[in-house]
Structures are given as C-alpha cells and as structure tokens.
C-alpha cells in the first residue's frame, strides 16, 4: 500500500518548485490529488502551499474591501505585510465585497487582519453594548 504523503511536506515541495519558476508542478499536484482522491483537500493544500511560500519569504494575501482600493492603500498594505513577516516579496489578490461596508480585510495563509466595519459591528453586537 502506498504511503500517504504528508500534506505539509508536499506543500513545501510545491512551494519550492514554484519559487524556482517551475509551473508544471501545479499540473503534477492536480494529478496527484485526483489520483489519490484528495481533491476535497484542495483548499487546505492551497493554504499549506501559501504557508510554505510564507516561510520562504513570499507572502500571498487576499485583500477584500468594500470598494476598489487606491494604489496608495495597496502599497501601504504591502509595506505592512512586508514588515509583519519580514518578507522579501508580497503579492496581493484584491477583491471587492460590499458586505464589509467599509475598511479592509487582509488574509494571509496563517493570519488575518480584519479592519472592516462589518467585523467591528459584529463585535459590538456580541458585546451587547
């Protein structure tokens, strides 16, 4: 019986190959997930690869805001993440979600910075002020 490969080890391998510029590794990972019937773990694999990239100095972050962010704000987020992780490179994946009402939510592989109005209102609601 084939030994089940640790997700973290696999993610570290994929992250290393991606940083070396080998995009074929994505196809290989997809084939592995299909073959080993682990496609349901796709999201966790993505998180693990991003965590491995993080350890290698590349931060990939989802940035969600209520409306389009200006270049200045995106630069400020990039600097914030660079400082927080002591990272060499930061890549942002911006998107818009009006449900946030205002502010911004930044999510990396292992952490989150939620400065959205929605979250603050939720917190207030929980505190029953």
């Amino acid at each position: 019986m084939a030994q089940r490969i640790s997700r973290r080890l696999m993610a570290e391998y994929v992250a290393g190959r991606l940083l070396d510029g080998d995009s074929n590794v994505i196809t290989q990972l997809a084939a592995y997930l299909v073959e080993s019937r682990r496609t349901k773990e796709l999201d966790t694999y993505v998180y693990d690869v991003e965590t491995a990239l993080l350890a290698k100095g590349l931060v990939v972050a989802d940035v969600v805001s209520a409306r389009d962010l200006t270049k200045a704000t995106q630069d400020a987020i990039t600097v914030f993440l660079q400082d927080s992780y002591k990272a060499d490179r930061v890549e942002l994946r911006p998107s818009v979600d009006s449900e946030l009402i205002g502010g911004v939510r930044v999510r990396t592989a292992d952490a989150e910075y939620d400065a959205s109005l929605r979250r603050q209102l939720n917190k207030l609601q929980k505190m029953k002020v």
Binding site: R7, T44, A111
Partner: protein, 508 residues
C-alpha cells in the same frame, strides 16, 4: 427601571469602539475543515499549544474548544459547546490561554457545570480568582505526610480503614452497593462535626434527578453551605464529562492552597474513563485494552496526585480524594479498577452479597485497606479498634465453616458470637454519621465483652440506649472524648459502668 442617559450611552459606545480599535495587527487564524461528534478538525494555527482554548466563530456566537491533537497537518479540538452550531470553514482563533474555571468561596453552596457556569438557577458566579483546570501536582518538598483524621462518621471505616486529610481512598463496588451513600455520609459528617472541611462533589454523567435529590438532602442536612457540586449529566458532551473532575479539583485546590481543608468526591471515575475513551476514539488515537487509549492511567494518576497534604510552609492545607469506581460483577481486576487501586492510598470495597444480607454499609473487611490512614486515626478510636478488622475477618471465615456443623468448641463459639455482635454493631443507617465518642463507646461495649450478655439481634437497640444514657448523664465528658484523645482510665471506668447498667436491661 433606570432612566436612559443619552450622554452615558454615547460615552460607553465610544469607549467600546476605542477598545475594539486597540486590537491592531495580524491575528493568527485557522479554519474548521470538518466537524462531528463533538470534535472539530482545524487547519492552520500552527502555534497552538496542547490543551489551549480555541474560539470558533459561528452564526449563533462563539463556540470554545480545546486542542487535544496537534498533528502535522491539522489540530483535533474537542468542542465545549454544541457541534451543530459549528460549520466547516468557520474561522478559528487562539484564545491564548488554557482552560480555567472560577474558584473561591463564592462557589460554596452552588451547583455548577465543569466550566463554572451556574446550574442551580442562582445568580451569575463572580469570583476574584480563576483556577487552571489542568494543573501540575504539588512537588515532594511541598508535601507533608498524612496525619490528621478525616472522619467519615461511619464506624466501620473510621475504626478499620481510617482516612487522613490529604489521602486518596477509593470507594469501589458493583452498582447499587452504597458507594455514593458513603461519600454523602462523609460530607454530612463534616457539617455535623463542624470540621470546616469544604466538600466538592463531582458528578460525572449522573442522572440530573439524582443530583437534584442529593442537593435537597444536603440542604436538609445543612451541608450545602460548605459544598460545591460540579454536575454533568449523561446528556452532556464527553468533553464536559472529561473536564468535570479536573475543574472540581481546581475549585478544591483553592481551599487547599489557602490553608483550608477540602474533600473531593469523584462520582464516578469509571464514567470518566468511558468519556475519555469516547473522545480518544473520535480523535483517532490508537485504542488499547478494552479500547481505552494508552494514557488512561495517566488520566487518573495526574488527577489524583493533586490531592495532597501540604507542608507547613505552604499553609498546611489539604485536599482529600474519595474517587468512586463501579465494578462489574465484583471484578476488581478489570482494567480501570486496577489502575485506580494502584494509584490510591487504599480502597473500601463494597460487596453485593453483604448488601443483600442487610449488612450496610456492605464493606468487605478482607478486601478493604487504608495504607496511610493509620497515622491519622484518632487515638480514642484507635485504642478500641486495633484488632477489629482481624476479628471481623476471622469471624466471617469461621461463620462460613460453622454453617456445615454445630459441633464447635467454646472458644470458636464465643468468637462467632462476638463477631455476630460486631457485625450488628457496624451496621449503620444512611445519613446518620457518628461522632468520635459514639464510635468509641459502641466499639468498646462489644470488644470489652460487656455486651456479651446482649442478644446479637438487640445490639443496635442496646447501642442506642447506651449512647442516649451517656449523652444524658455525662455530656461534658462525652464532649471531651469527642476531641479524639485517648480517654483516661477514670473515663473508661465511667463508660464501663454505664455499659454494664445498659447491658443488664438487655439480658435474656
């Protein structure tokens, strides 16, 4: 109703916003990948510690869990709330602390769950301190040998298997043999004898109706004011049943660490082991003997090791433990019973046969033992109860032989007669614990031979008459004797003469 002040509302709102804005920076988060049977599997949060509390966000509010499996790829966390509220994909954050419960005198008289939330319909519990649920036991240098008695009020225990403060004495037996009754009587005795020992009764998976009856009884006996009840019912999650004894111990430790004395009753650890087995199997830990996980011994040893008599430097407080174990068909060699027997400082074994013969408490003199209590026995009881255990064991052996024939020599006959009287004497009704003086005069009356003229069937009657006479005629002397010191020769003579006069009234 207070008048609503718009100025204050505005100020409170601003303060709350300022507090929210102080939570700057990146917060470590994970997500729930799957959930079921009270266990959530979390991806991320690589910095989580063992037993650390996690907060899982849900539509119905935050649900807490504690991390028990720290795997390479994920965390297995046991939920403290309802698992139906937690959805896959939910955001999980670290609380940054291990589980703790409120501790302090504010808990006295209350019925709480293992998280310290009130179950008695009373007001919210506000304590000044919190105690860590999983705490390391005190070290060697912080301890002192057990030397003070913890009177149960049950003659057969105090005379034959004395329990000291800081001791762990197991109560073991089949179902319906009176295990809980012994624990309750001990609690009641602490109030009757005004020992100021705090009782902490931990009900693990007990029926709520039984707990309600217990609370009523303790209130009736005036014991509830010095008692804390940590209650879990069979409908509670396995995680709460698992936590209950640790939470109760944290509450008891508060009193121990403040120079006071507390008595822990774990009713019962069999159900606790079963709850832990359920959790372990759901967390996919490898099953061992009887499907229990490999660390089931450590589960109970680390719990019971927290019971101790502290050194004078640490305030000389104590935490005594009476764990209860339920056996199946009297089999004390099963896995969990042998584990707990080896951990504790002795056991009181209750036999079904004795129970149905009407010998209650149904304590087996041969299989019960107290390994450290001898040093803690009151001198008064020790002076009369010295060879009680041996005599009773010999009697039960002789009695079983005597069934086969009537040709017995006089010495054997008298030994059997004395044994029958002793057996009758040691029968004791529930909720009627006895003080030191009552125990002394009762045992002395039989072992000295002064009650030899009394028919064994009338021993209890004669005992009651003797106690009533001595209390009526010599209250001051009996109060003195109740302090536990060895009685003077004059006092023994006084008791002897009272015993003789009572015995005369019961002669055939």
């Amino acid at each position: 109703m207070t008048k609503l002040s718009v100025t204050e509302l505005s100020r409170d709102l601003r303060d709350a916003i300022v507090q929210l804005e102080t939570t700057e920076g990146l917060e470590k988060v994970g997500i729930v990948t799957r959930v079921g049977d009270g266990v959530a599997w979390v991806h991320g949060l690589q910095s989580a510690g063992y037993s650390e509390v996690l907060t899982i966000e849900s539509d119905a509010g935050d649900v807490e869990a504690f991390a028990l499996n720290l795997n390479e790829d994920e965390i297995g966390a046991v939920l403290l709330g309802n698992d139906s509220e937690v959805k896959a994909g939910a955001r999980v954050t670290l609380k940054g602390e291990t589980l703790s419960v409120p501790v302090g005198p504010e808990l006295l008289g209350r019925v709480v769950d293992p998280l310290g939330r009130p179950l008695d319909g009373g007001p919210a519990i506000k304590t000044k301190q919190r105690g860590v649920v999983e705490r390391e036991a005190i070290g060697v240098m912080g301890r002192k040998s057990v030397h003070e008695p913890l009177m149960t009020g049950i003659v057969s225990i105090d005379a034959m298997f004395p329990i000291g403060r800081g001791q762990r004495e197991l109560i073991i037996g089949d179902r319906q043999t009176g295990k809980t009754a012994i624990a309750i009587d001990t609690m009641i005795n602490q109030a009757k004898q005004k020992t100021s020992v705090v009782n902490v009764y931990v009900a693990i998976g007990q029926k709520l109706s039984k707990i309600a009856r217990l609370v009523d009884r303790l209130k009736e006996e005036g014991v509830m004011d010095q008692t804390i009840i940590v209650a879990t019912s069979p409908s509670d999650s396995a995680s709460l049943l698992y936590l209950a004894p640790y939470a109760g111990t944290a509450m008891g430790e508060y009193f121990r660490d403040n120079g006071e004395h507390a008595l822990m009753i774990y009713d019962d650890l069999t159900k606790h082991a079963v709850a832990y087995r359920q959790m372990s199997l759901l967390l996919r830990r490898p099953p061992g003997r009887e499907a229990f996980p490999g660390d089931v011994f450590y589960l109970h040893s680390r719990l019971l090791e927290r019971s101790a008599k502290l050194s004078d430097d640490l305030g000389a407080g104590s935490l005594t433990a009476l764990p209860i174990i339920e056996t199946q068909a009297g089999d004390i060699s099963a896995y969990i019973p042998t584990n707990v027997i080896s951990i504790t400082d002795g056991q009181i074994f209750l036999e079904t046969d004795l129970f149905y013969q009407g010998i209650r408490p149904a304590i087996s003199a041969g299989l019960s033992v107290s390994r450290v209590g001898g040093a803690a026995q009151t001198k008064a009881v020790k002076s009369v109860g010295g060879n009680l255990k041996l005599g009773l064991s010999q009697f039960r052996e002789l009695a079983s032989f005597a069934q086969f024939g009537s040709d017995l020599d006089d010495a054997t006959k008298s030994q059997i007669d004395r044994g029958r009287r002793l057996t009758e004497l040691l029968k004791q009704l529930q909720y009627q614990p006895m003080g030191v003086w009552e125990q002394f005069v009762s045992i002395h009356a039989v072992t000295s031979g002064l009650f030899d003229v009394v028919d064994p069937d009338r021993i209890k009657e004669a005992q009651a008459a003797l106690i009533a006479k001595l209390w009526g005629d010599h209250k001051a002397e009996m109060r003195e004797l109740n302090k536990g010191d060895k009685p003077s020769d004059e006092l023994v003579e006084l008791i002897d003469s009272a015993t003789k006069s009572v015995a005369k009234g019961f002669e055939d």
